[in-house]
Amino acid sequence: MICAGIDAGSRSIKVVLFDTARAQIIASGLADQGVEQERLAAELFESLLQQAGLDRSRISSVVATGYGRNAIRFAGTTITEITCHARGVHWLAPDARSIIEIGGQDSKIISLEEGGRVRDFAMNDRCAAGTGRFLEMVAARLDMTWEKLAQLGRQSQAPALISNVCVVFAETEIIGLLADGKPLPDVVAGVQNAIATRVAALASRLASPPVYFTGGVALLPGMARALEEVLACPVRVAPRPQFTGALGAALCARAANPSPAGL
């Protein structure tokens, strides 16, 4: 049986095809998010089927998650990111007891029981200061990619102090710091620390080790280190952090086995 999970995030769409018999991911892919979410998700889904040499009829169930999940009408059911990230991270890292997920427009902390069941969670989706949107703003302002941003952050010797209260104010601060000649790596590291501090405020009451870090922002090496410093505990980056939501959705599809609609 092949199950599919679709994570329609704010910045990108992720799809995972999961072979339940062999208990392994057989294909995964990612595409930029856009206005026509369902079409973009369907195209990505189709391309992964082709890549895996599968026919649609082989897919027994599809679950969608992410903020755009309700737009994916060909999914048999929808499940929130909290449940899906928990399921995905637990499958990849069964020792996980807490998950920090920083996405494009929100951040979450999920506390897990032994066995991977969600114990509790907290979310920040009202303020961009603790989310990937902050990094996007900085990348756009500095006209560079996330990857370049991450490399720069690692070179920092003395991270700048940047407000973690408001991204709009922070942008002004960044312009001021650069105008004052603050080295770029220190500014970038300052932004990472600001995000980490914001997330830590959310996470501190729920984070118990081992803490795993997932979501697209986890790919930036400096972020895990920044989180470790503010949380004062090791933070491990989950394997394939961009795909844990989609993987969790596929695992939920395996469990629920809902019939896909319109496939």
């Binding site: 903020y67 499940i79 909290i82 449940t83 969600v118 509790d120 969670f121 979310m123 009451r205």
Partner: protein, 461 residues
């Protein structure tokens, strides 16, 4: 008239109302179709809500939404109007004890922008008056007072001070400076009796030092004199005792309703109607006797549904305990749309649901009731009650909702979450719900849905 319970939007209620009329629906003077509140009062938010389909629920909504008319009519008939501010349930009991007095709750104006989808501009006007969005939406009462047109200008304004929120104090002081004299009374911050200090039991399993009860009683004595002067007769113990007895009739009915709804295996009445019904405890929506009739009708409906095993939300729904009232009523619909149901509530005035002792001198009993207000005591006391009720009502998750700017205790939500997590280990979230939450609906929905999923996944297999 006994249709199976379901939720109806306003369009569906139009049809339902016509059907009920054809079937011989009998309504009180304030009755009529719900639609008229949109057309006449511009309560546009009603168009986004879904309501219980019972005649009892219709009566509840009509009672709620005609309060201002009721107050104007009372004034025209010669009644004196008493505005009781920042007092959720004590001074109204005293005011209604005297014939010819009507108490209302001007702070309730904070709901007006919520119902009118800010079309009334009260919040913007409050900002022009120097009270901006960093303050509680109660600031809406400032322009409501200044403009008139909403509620009549009270003959007497009474407001508690001391252990209340700073926001409210600032807004009320501004109101006084705008030319609305206020009779202030002080309530101390409730504390545990010290060792060797004479203790006094309060409703709600609380205690306070006798000296605090004495202090509040003296303050209430002052209020009683003022109310008596306004009514032209002394507010003596016999009036007060009768007033307490009548208030307790309301509280008993609310207690019965809460038990019948929150403890039922499935929900016989929607969360939205429960929120509105509980609100009646504060000041009886300006008509104490009618409040009893409205609650009796609701209770009869709930009991009838339970008897027929007909419910509005099925037994699989996650049992959610809800803390604090919501600014946008749509949130209560949203909870049920996403698979939850109310199994308990603390809408900030739990003391107004407790019976006022009838075996004590009336002012002493009222002072104890006032001191049991969750807002005048430590958050830990409030959380202890929430934990007790979560346990007894088998709550599977907890929501603490916040209103932007409302901050009588900025850390209260977090403290309640921590204590509930520690004591009963159920998932708990805090949500900020602004007066109109349309733009936030996806994220609110995501959080509520995640909470429901988490609660349901934790059920024993």
């Amino acid at each position: 008239m006994n249709s199976p319970p379901r939720k109806l939007d306003l369009d569906q209620w139009d049809g339902r109302y016509e059907q009920l009329r054809r079937d011989g629906l009998r309504e009180p003077a304030y009755g009529g179709p719900l639609r008229r509140h949109v057309v006449r009062e511009k309560d546009f938010r009603l168009q986004q809500l879904r309501f219980d389909n019972s005649p009892a629920a219709l009566r509840l909504w009509n009672f709620l939404l005609t309060e201002n008319q009721r107050l104007h009519q009372a004034r025209a008939e010669g009644d004196k109007i008493v505005g009781t501010m920042k007092d959720l349930g004590t001074v109204p009991v005293m005011a209604y004890a005297l014939p010819g007095l009507r108490a209302f709750y001007p702070d309730g104006a904070w709901w007006t922008p919520c119902l009118m989808e800010c079309g009334d501009k009260l919040l913007q006007k409050a900002e022009m008056m120097g009270i901006d969005a960093s303050f509680c939406p109660v600031r809406a009462m400032l322009p409501a007072f200044q403009e008139g047109g909403h509620f009549p200008r009270p003959d007497l304004l009474v407001c508690s001070a001391g252990a209340i929120c700073d926001d409210f104090s600032a807004i009320a002081q501004r109101l006084e400076h705008l030319g609305h004299p206020i009779l202030w009374w002080e309530t101390p911050r409730r504390r545990q009796p010290a060792s060797g200090e004479r203790a006094c039991a309060l409703p709600g399993h609380l205690a306070a030092p006798q000296v605090q009860v004495d202090c509040v009683r003296a303050e209430l004595q002052r209020i009683a004199r003022a109310l008596g002067e306004l009514a032209g007769q002394t507010l003596d113990d016999s009036f007060l005792a009768a007033g307490i007895c009548a208030a307790n009739q309301v509280r008993q009915r609310l207690d019965s309703l809460r038990r019948a709804v929150y403890c039922a295996p499935a929900a016989p009445l929607p969360a939205l109607e429960m929120l509105v019904a509980e609100m009646l405890a504060i000041h009886f929506c300006s008509d104490r006797q009618e409040t009893i009739a409205v609650l009796d009708a609701l209770l009869a409906e709930v009991q009838s549904r339970a008897h027929r095993s007909q419910f509005i939300i099925g037994p699989d729904a996650a049992r959610i305990f809800w803390v604090n009232p919501v600014a946008d009523l749509r949130a209560m619909n949203l909870l049920e749309d996403l698979g939850g149901r109310l199994c308990g509530s603390d809408f900030m005035f739990s003391h107004a649901l407790d019976l006022i002792p009838e075996n004590l001198p009336p002012l002493d009993a009222l002072a104890r009731a006032a001191l049991a207000d969750p807002m005048v005591g430590p958050t830990e006391d409030r959380a202890a009650r929430i934990v007790r009720e979560c346990r007894s009502n088998r709550a599977e998750a907890l929501v603490v909702s916040r209103i932007p700017g409302a901050s009588h205790c900025a850390r209260e939500g977090e403290i309640i979450l921590q204590i509930v997590r520690r004591e009963i280990g159920i998932p708990a979230i805090e949500l900020e719900i602004p007066p109109v939450c349309d733009a936030l609906s996806p994220s609110l929905g995501s959080r509520l849905r995640a909470l429901v999923e988490t609660a349901q996944a934790r059920r024993p297999k």
